[in-house]
Subunit: 215 residues, 2 copies
Amino acid sequence: MEVRRADKIAETLEQLVFSGEFKDGERLDELKLAEQFCVSRTPIREALHALVASGMAEQIPRRGVFVRQPGPVELMEMFETMAELEAACGRYAALRITDSALDRLVAANENCQRALAQQDHAGYYAQNEIFHQVIYESAANSYLEKQALRLQNRLKPYRKVQLRFRGRLDQSMAEHVAIVAALQEGDPEQAAAALRGHVAVQGEKFYQLMASLNS
Amino acid sequence: MEVRRADKIAETLEQLVFSGEFKDGERLDELKLAEQFCVSRTPIREALHALVASGMAEQIPRRGVFVRQPGPVELMEMFETMAELEAACGRYAALRITDSALDRLVAANENCQRALAQQDHAGYYAQNEIFHQVIYESAANSYLEKQALRLQNRLKPYRKVQLRFRGRLDQSMAEHVAIVAALQEGDPEQAAAALRGHVAVQGEKFYQLMASLNS
DNA sequence: ATCTGCATTTTTGTATACAAGATATTTGAC
DNA sequence: GTCAAATATCTTGTATACAAAAATGCAGAT
């Protein structure tokens, strides 16, 4: 799929920004990166433009591109938007979901519970991700699905933090059950509300954590 | 704001794709465009990448970038997504809108009505755009606002078509009034529902039109 | 010592040159 | 005449060279 070196570099840089290797506001030096990746400036520049397009960096003309780690406010806004996107997916999924997708949803949920019992955090995250992605897919709107996937990916590094809250995992599982129930019932309003709340609380927990750290 | 030639070129290409100058599937030849714009391939390539990033073109490695005009199904999906984004904005706006924003909303609405009375279509479009943008802004979520603005801009060329339907303009105005009322009441559910319906019907009308043209 | 103006040095943006993969064409066999 | 293989041509991707704008450093004046 990706034969161009620039694309691989973009992917690597994305990971480095995600992992916090690059601090907020840091300038991404074309020459240094070119040397570091053993390529010329050209593919580096293309990779940097990709970063800018995905919102992880900002370009100031004739000045360079700077990493743009979202602050607490922007993160909260992104979680809020995610909540609405998921609510939208849930709304349509309630009307359009297939039986096989419902099965996969239940299966992912059971896998979540199993991972939880085994203290397998990585497994839980993976299955949780699948759970939500099945809902995006079941909205039967590939454009909406793509948007949801994009933002889900963007928020991934921040979602992990919030699950450390006391009892959050159990609560999260209970919410999943309610979501599945609403989808099985085919109730758009209830599915939307359940998903909105489920995601929104993540943002709020995260915000709480950020606030507690900054005081 | 934009000192880089590549950015101006990207903007121009965007317009050309919007206006249908470039047909769906057409390859955007770097050399020809470079000659046409009297620049080298480099800024052209950057502009093409911008087009790809905004979803108006597709890049196939080692093959080139091709214009990607959305088909009826994808357009319908985009309208559906727009409806949900606007509903989300309306939901939050009902809780967060300021008095001054409400005033601007009413003013834009009156300007719409005035333009309608004078058969000033361009004026109507402009004021209608402002009406919706005030709502995005009033959601007090700049991330969500940005997403809404992006999709609104992307759908702009298609929205105009749909307003030609008999009586659609009058109906649209009535919906605007209902939206303002819900926001004034501070009722999130009603605001969301009103906006969802208002935008979704545009998609439906558009789909009807496309279907009638293809038969 | 600090600030201002000029010169130097980086660094971005663009043009050109080169490499490699994809497409088109030609030539030969059947 | 059709098909296939080899060659030629074209196009993208990358490297390098050049131009222009911004940042930096230094000298001199206040």
